[in-house]
Symmetry: C2
Subunit: 394 residues, 2 copies
Amino acid sequence: MTKQKSKAPPSAKPVPAGSSPPSAQLDQLRVRIDGIDQQLVELLAQRGRVVDQVTRVKQQHALPTFHPAREENLISVRRTQAVQAGLDPDYVEDLFRTMLRHSRVGQLDTLGRRGVRPGAKVLIVGGRGSMGRFFSRWFQQSDYEVHVLDVDDWPQVKPLTAGIDLCLLAVPIAVTPAIAGRIAPHLPRGCVLADITSLKREPLAAMLRAYDGPVVGLHPLFGPATTTMDKQIVVVSPGRQMDACQWLLDQLSVWGNILVDTPADEHDEIMGIVQALRHFATFAFGQFLHSRRVPISRTLELSSPIYRLELAMVGRLFAQDPLLYAEIVFATPERLTLLKDFIHSLNENLGMIEKGEKAEFVARFRKVADWFGPFSEQAMRESTFLVEKLVHRF
Amino acid sequence: MTKQKSKAPPSAKPVPAGSSPPSAQLDQLRVRIDGIDQQLVELLAQRGRVVDQVTRVKQQHALPTFHPAREENLISVRRTQAVQAGLDPDYVEDLFRTMLRHSRVGQLDTLGRRGVRPGAKVLIVGGRGSMGRFFSRWFQQSDYEVHVLDVDDWPQVKPLTAGIDLCLLAVPIAVTPAIAGRIAPHLPRGCVLADITSLKREPLAAMLRAYDGPVVGLHPLFGPATTTMDKQIVVVSPGRQMDACQWLLDQLSVWGNILVDTPADEHDEIMGIVQALRHFATFAFGQFLHSRRVPISRTLELSSPIYRLELAMVGRLFAQDPLLYAEIVFATPERLTLLKDFIHSLNENLGMIEKGEKAEFVARFRKVADWFGPFSEQAMRESTFLVEKLVHRF
């Protein structure tokens, strides 16, 4: 049995009451806030102009965009100032991180165009597909000479491949091995052969079989709708003569990508989970909602931000290209086995619910929680942070 | 066949080159940025002090915290100024939304304590559970007289219920009907009886059967870890004498909650999807990752921010109380049927993949995409916004 009563906190410096009606007091205070806000925007504009100058100096001297130590130092100085000024340091950090991100993206827009090997010739095979067009644009912006070979251009294969430094295969997974075999005899000595499909074992093996020069398998973990490559991940599966491929990897880094070296086998196994299983589960969930005609907008009104976020993940999938997802889900027999195992495990869990085994549910739950370990806490923190952003933005 | 070459944009106002080495130039510019940043924090502190004064005026005159029109007007004035100053208005809006949210939460911390009916007596049944403790704290902060009746306190039921204005059931779903029956005979005339379980049909019916006074069913869509009620949703399923319950609903609004009126039947049906099905699917996915011993950290290194976000949703579940989820998943026979239907539909989709029917996959995908309609695009926009936040924060 508890009985408590808390007191309202005393107002430290009360506004002189009775001097004017509350609406007039509020109006006065709001005019002061507006004045401060105007000065804030003026300072942001000043800051933007100085950052532009920094960008120009970096551009003239080919200096890197990022300066992580500088950024962290800047944040910690502002946090200290915030505490001294009686402000919440997390709040001030949040604002400055937004400002830093903004200037970093702005710098990348300018500096990211820098070509590591400007003037080099790049042939994009499948260059009229969405990913092909995406990479054409980036190479062109970095002053490469970009040519495209699409399905109707094979009669021009000779002039198109003459003197090229990179042949990038941006064609569907299913035809990548065949296309590698068809283009390889035309590649000049020293030319890099690379692909960007979401599987690596088969395409890489096919490229290595067909061609004896430098080969590298790439898997960019982003779609053609991406506007910035800032911090986007590209998986790199080494093929042959990686020294000769280095300029291409450097170019990806300059564009802002993070490169993760991974052998093709390991890549394909992990992507089975990360892509095939996730996409299948999300597809099947959306399909189920549709088959039941679940009233989406009503469920959104009646749900926590977390459900809104989960449903956004489902809706997002269906805003994209079905062929891309079909390719990923139908890619290999191993993936089919994985999906079967998954559904088998779902059935097994359903059996437990059917039998009303709550204690077993809790036991399994705890086992998984232990296995996740600190990741769970981190996931909680990250998703809570995002949910706050979502609640206050939309 | 395409051949294009873009030009690097000319630098509008180049920094005089050669006058000093680039590092010295950068140092100078950084000193200027630091100076601007210091002024920014000073202005933020000034702004905070004025906002505190606004809060005090509102507190003295019991004025509402929010002023949506004022906020939107403020944002649009700053957007206009941003455009005139050559800044990206979305960027400036982003910063000001963060600032407004911060001051709103700060005001709620102070004003949200305001009791709609201070001094009224509240009995929380199950008040030592996590949600019970949560509501005890909020009622106490708003100057209510809070008593707790937990499992061992039934001998004191008479003094505990004497003169109470609200009896809030914060006990597990399974025992809510029984507890309602047990407490009802002790409730004084006019006392509001309410529950906060995540099902509404059964608990509400049980409360109405047991007690003939004011009754309302509540389902707060948030957990006990929530630090603010700002914009959190509470589903309200009307029971009886809603006029007499109004003060309780007003109190929830003052705390910042958004109330959504929903009949108990509709609530339970939608929650089957929103909670039971989602939680089961997420639980089963985590369980499958565990059974395969999938290397979580390696998958995170090799994945797009979207996967990171999806995995965070899974990890988040396992950071919480398994009993809470067991209650939701095992709640009703309808939910078991729903899960069975879901797994049946998964099996059906698996069959399609087994037969290699890619065209069918694409056709189903398009049907769902059409059905989702504009929600897909919105989901894409929201999740892209969040992914950017995630990428640049963690």
